[in-house]
Symmetry: C2
Subunit: 197 residues, 2 copies
């Protein structure tokens, strides 16, 4: 197994953008391998009675989140553009991410989608946007079709069941052994634990 | 005015404990003065439809928070005992904190209350517990009576109005100039900004 960290992300999640853009390099520097785990927060939020992002349901928290993201993106040297609408529908991107994972090439696709959405404010349920992210990741166009296969739909559903079994309630989340860490703020602590294991 | 940070805390808040125990030393090291601002989260939570702590309303989040606190307290060398019930009623402690602030001695009292509650698991609405925190802070017992004065009740109510005007939605929160920071995770970033100002 070696030193590993599981990175659970939802494409619509702003703070997952921060982690997605830095986890691979940070993990590599510590000799840690990353398991990329896309999942959907919608069903988890719905189960706790939320019909939208908490950042929309609780406006003061939402206003704060965008200002916090501006500051954090500036520190990390990342562009930030607020996508409209927010949150976006991450379902098609999540299915494609599972196809990219089968092909051993998930990380560049995930970064391309986050960059399109939060770097440039593009709509990531738009097939044209997704096709250009796919190309940016160096993946062959004909492989995109597989996102519609029943196995891929089932695989994304299974991700949701694994997420619930892990007691995840938000994104990004990191799992190292039995330990759960929530939020980009805990990435370094999670990686430090993985590096020791 | 000089370099200043406002530290907004609610006694029932677990993550405020972490900040309360380290802010004064960390600020001093940067030449920053701390304005201690007690307030009650209850009315703010009620306004967003919450009838208890989000850590009780959302059980997965609550389980995570306690594990996260265990890890963070261990790193900071702080004891942690889960008080029962949780959250506690922080109202009498908040009024006393305003009295202690009038007397120019709020920080030691605030630390004593957090230590009693989260270090030793004591009930901070218990007058005996509060009296011993008051004594621990070196304050004269007869001054405790003033917590019942109408001016102090009004002052705590005014704190709530200031908190709402600042768009606060959780604790701890830090205000430096026009910038709001939420959570113990942002204390260092807030202090760094205060130190530059």
């Amino acid at each position: 197994m070696g030193k590993r960290i599981s990175f659970w992300f939802e494409f619509a999640s702003t703070y997952s953008y921060l982690s997605a853009m830095r986890i691979e390099r940070a993990a590599e520097a510590l000799g840690v391998s990353v398991d990329w785990e896309p999942f959907l927060l919608g069903p988890i939020f719905a189960a706790q009675g939320w019909t939208s992002s908490p950042f929309n349901l609780y406006p003061a928290k939402g206003r704060y989140m965008w200002r916090d993201m501006e500051r954090l993106c500036a520190r990390q040297g990342l562009p930030l553009t607020r996508p409209d609408p927010f949150p976006q529908n991450g379902l098609p991107a999540a299915r494609l991410a599972l196809v990219a994972r089968e092909m051993g090439h998930i990380a560049p696709f995930v970064r391309a989608v986050y960059g399109a959405q939060f770097g440039r404010g593009l709509v990531i349920s738009d097939p044209h946007v997704l096709a250009s992210c796919w190309a940016e990741a160096g993946l062959p166009p004909e492989a995109m079709e597989r996102a519609k296969a029943p196995e891929i739909k089932a695989a994304l559903f299974a991700q949701g069941e694994r997420a619930a079994a892990l007691d995840l309630f938000g994104a990004p989340s990191f799992v190292v052994g039995e330990e759960l860490f929530w939020g980009d703020d805990r990435l370094d602590q999670a990686l430090a634990l993985a590096a020791q294991s």
